[in-house]
């Protein structure tokens, strides 16, 4: 898993690459919670490079969503691969996240 960060349009854009699973979700959680802790309230998670997620990874997405909702912030997801979208669909996560086709739409 690799996470890179940039800022644009009032959003903090995080690019996730690789796998988020039981062995590395802690690392992902610490990074995302850390970024929210620095005052970033509007986050776009670009999932283009995310090619595997298990329930441990979904857990971190939900934690981020809960934290940002409590701060009246925004969490937008975008460019999700179909196999990952499928996991979000069957978990009921597609209805609790705002998921956009493109990063441009996620930033609007």
């Amino acid at each position: 898993m690799n996470l890179t960060k940039k800022n644009s349009n009032g959003f903090c854009i995080l690019n996730i690459e690789g796998r988020i699973d039981t062995t590395n979700f802690n690392e992902f959680e610490n990074e995302v919670v850390g970024i929210i802790g620095t005052g970033e309230k509007n986050i776009v998670l670009n999932c283009k490079g995310l090619n595997y997620i298990s329930s441990s990874g979904l857990r971190v997405f939900l934690i981020a969503q809960k934290k940002l909702m409590a701060l009246n912030g925004k969490l937008h997801l975008c460019e999700m691969q179909p196999t990952i979208k499928e996991i979000f669909d069957i978990s009921g996560f597609s209805t609790i996240f705002k998921i956009f086709e493109t990063e441009e739409e996620a930033l609007a």
């Binding site: 039981t22 062995t23 298990s54 939900l62 179909p82 499928e86 996991i87 069957i90 978990s91 009921g92």
Partner: protein, 164 residues
């Protein structure tokens, strides 16, 4: 429950138009994998499933889902069937393919642990009411066609089946 029927994406699991799976050339195929009851073994297992996917010529989304199912099942076994983590035990995974069906049999000698007895999460709750966690077994039941547990001679046996 949002998916009472097979989601459209599942179509990808069917053999490509070019012909049947290589696996169809054989009456049945079998792979036996043994790992230690440790989370550190998950990347090793993932590598073996990737290799199996190539050997059996499985579609990539199916290989990914088999990996997901195994990660969820094995991590539950590590956390709940072996609470005394100091002593690592062996978990045996048999993967069989026969007549268009994949069967995964997972055996461990930990304390009795029936993952199918877990309460199903309410996936219609809004984000602020959704509990953190509890999705692992649910994902297994949604991806596979059947999930059965039995306790047999000090062993937990989990049998997962899916038509492909």
């Amino acid at each position: 429950m949002r998916y009472e029927t097979i989601p459209p994406c599942w179509e990808k699991f069917h053999p490509p138009a070019g012909g049947p799976l290589k696996t169809d050339n054989f009456n049945s195929m079998k792979e036996e994998i043994s790992i230690k009851s440790s989370i550190d073994e998950l990347p090793v297992l993932a590598g073996k499933i990737e290799a199996l996917g190539e050997k059996w010529d499985l579609p990539m989304p199916l290989t990914m889902n088999l990996n997901l199912v195994l990660e969820e099942a094995i991590s539950n076994i590590v956390f709940y069937a072996f609470p005394d983590k100091a002593e690592q035990q062996t978990v045996n995974i048999d993967i069989n393919y026969e007549k268009g069906e994949i069967e995964i049999v997972i055996k461990d000698n930990g304390i009795p642990f029936d993952p199918t007895a877990k309460e199903k999460p309410d996936i219609d709750l809004p984000a602020d009411q959704r509990p953190i966690g509890g999705l692992g077994i649910f994902l297994i039941t949604k991806i596979m066609d059947s999930v059965n547990y039995k306790r047999d001679n000090d062993k937990n046996i989990l049998i997962l089946k899916k038509k492909i």
